[in-house]
Symmetry: C2
Subunit: 352 residues, 2 copies
DNA sequence: TTGTAAGCGTTATCAT
DNA sequence: ATGATAACGCTTACAA
């Protein structure tokens, strides 16, 4: 391994000087600088990050935390895309991303300490966790720099307009004439689940439709959970279902099919996320598109700003807009939607 | 921050002694050990990994490398599941996993050096790359400890029986009476693509069916690539298509549908992977199941063994078995398959 | 069994 | 503008 020392010797200067040119500090004569650079080049010198870290207490490593409760959802494309955005931001900012899955409930604590206390990791972005998740608690207590994906009280976060998206989805269904609209939610402990539920509820209310508790069922964000939810819902004869994630919507469509029901003729379905899966379903899924990649990207941008001491600004929370993508699972094709919209514009509200 | 020094002082011993008990070395009196442990406990001491790394030249971090050519495929559930297995292995072995996506073609080189030369990363597992991928080249040249997912000449690897799987899939189709069987492949530069193609070809040959070049089309492992492939294939009137990945199979089914063709009545489809998506398609996809999670798990197990100096054994390559999962896109339901099989057992060969 | 001391490769402070 | 020198927190001969 070639060290600062080696370079210094070859360039005929001291270690400190080499360090200065490496770090682009001022106050070094152009000629010396050139000599040092030549030596660096000649020797193929590369700084040793570990040594540097020991001296500076910086590592340029952040982590994406997936709480235990979400680990089983990890094959949902949502996370892959989120990760892609996050890693992309790391790439542009010169950081490395360690992926932490708390997959063993018994080792939560241990894995947490290993990673974050005294670890390589300078800060973390934690993916859509419930506020009472132990990881969130620990993070908040330890005061570790962290930004959440999804609203998180007491933490800086980036989120999407869940309320508006759910409301748009539901109002779209209403505009198509459906009246008996059920919804399948994620775990209610999650704030974004509550927001989406509120959007659904308010849309109904705005149209003078009573809110029926039996029409909202928890699907746990999984395909099988959603299938079970459908089983509960079916006796209630819903005309349409607003499902809080595309993965669950896929489960819903499968369950409906197995009950001999057609989508959208017998039951219309609208999802949430717009992951690639959505357009592959049959019929293609109408859904609320979130900018997932951007969510991941902005989360680490924000985190890195925090770590690098930029952006000490007050407003650290971002809410990204969502958009309704009309395909055919709702009973109207995209083209029809556009036509309908132009002749008799339907107010798609939602606080963007 | 509480350091070794602090603990030493409190316990009334030297730094070295504390270090010894921390690292569980022998030759330390039980009584001293207890005293040190007490001090550690009292002070809440935790070793500083960076400092330790500088001294030992070990970091306990490995990386999962996704070559640039695959980054756009990253939302394929295959990778999420692979990652899950890999991270799980890291968790059990006390390693951290940094996820590296070479998403910017122009910065390939730079990102590579940043990560691997002098970096935190001790070793890497590289996901199904083509042998001529620059990353593979660099890795091999630099002699960095690495294990590949998917056969990789000159590198230790873990792989699945691609040949056998493809052969099983094709023979299954043959056994159902299809004769004109097309195939949609991934990029032919990938070894596992070639293996799967060979399995397809040999199955045909074994049944005396001539191999027609026009019936094999490259789909690039993407949904849209596969849709384009279908467009090319359709004029040739295939009765069935063996598709080299489930994601592509989803694209195939979508394309078929848009051409007014039914699956399996008009064209039968078999996929490869058995990601969760497969069972969500309509009709549910018959496919070749690979143990994806295990693949990821074993890859890092192998890597960590390498790094920790265990397992200096000779045979470092593992080939995992695959299995045909019969659903209904092939034109036969699971139940029918089992019945058929018991009355007139069809030899599902493939070198396991 | 325990302690002393020399690294590991940088950065940072303070002279000069 | 440059150079000594002391950290950074730990491991590891080597000595005692």
């Amino acid at each position: 391994m070639v060290t600062l020392e080696d370079v210094a010797r070859l360039a005929g200067v001291s270690r400190s000087t080499v360090s200065r040119v490496i770090n682009g500090q001022p106050h070094v004569r152009a000629e010396t600088k050139a000599r040092v650079l030549a030596a660096v080049e000649r020797l193929g010198y590369r700084p040793h990050p570990i040594a540097r870290s020991l001296a500076t207490r910086r590592t340029k490593v952040v982590s994406m935390l997936i709480p235990e409760s979400l680990t089983k959802l990890f094959s949902d494309q949502f996370f892959a895309i989120l990760l892609q955005g996050a890693v992309h931001a790391c790439n542009t900012r010169g950081y490395q991303m360690v992926l932490a899955l708390f997959d063993d409930p018994r080792r939560q604590e241990e894995l947490y300490r290993q990673l974050l206390q005294n670890g390589y990791v300078e800060g973390a972005v934690v993916a859509s966790a419930a506020p009472d998740d132990p990881v969130i608690q620990a993070l908040r207590e330890d005061g570790i720099p962290v930004v959440a994906v999804g609203k998180q009280p007491g933490l800086p976060y980036v989120d999407v307009n869940n309320y508006g998206g759910a409301r748009m989805a539901t109002e779209h269904l209403l505009s198509l004439g459906y009246r008996r609209i059920a919804t399948i939610t994620g775990p209610l402990s999650h704030l974004h689940v509550q927001d989406r539920l509120a959007g659904y509820r308010d849309a109904l209310k705005a149209h003078g439709i009573p809110y029926e508790e039996e029409l909202v069922v928890e699907g746990g964000f999984t395909e099988v959970g959603a299938m079970a939810a459908v089983a509960k819902l079916l006796p209630l004869r819903p005309e349409a279902i607003f499902v809080q994630s595309d993965t669950m919507a896929a489960g819903v469509m499968r369950a409906l099919r197995s009950h001999g029901l057609r989508v959208p003729e017998d039951v219309a379905v609208v999802g949430f996320d717009d992951i690639p899966l959505a357009s592959l379903l049959d019929p293609p899924l109408t859904t609320v598109r979130q900018p997932i990649r951007l969510l991941g990207f902005m989360a680490v941008e924000l985190l890195v700003d925090l770590l690098d001491g930029h952006n000490p600004g007050p407003r650290e929370n971002t809410v990204l807009p969502v958009e309704l993508v009309v395909r055919s699972s709702c009973g109207i094709t995209r083209k029809q939607f556009l036509e309908k919209r132009s002749e008799k514009p339907f107010p798609v509200k939602g606080e963007t």
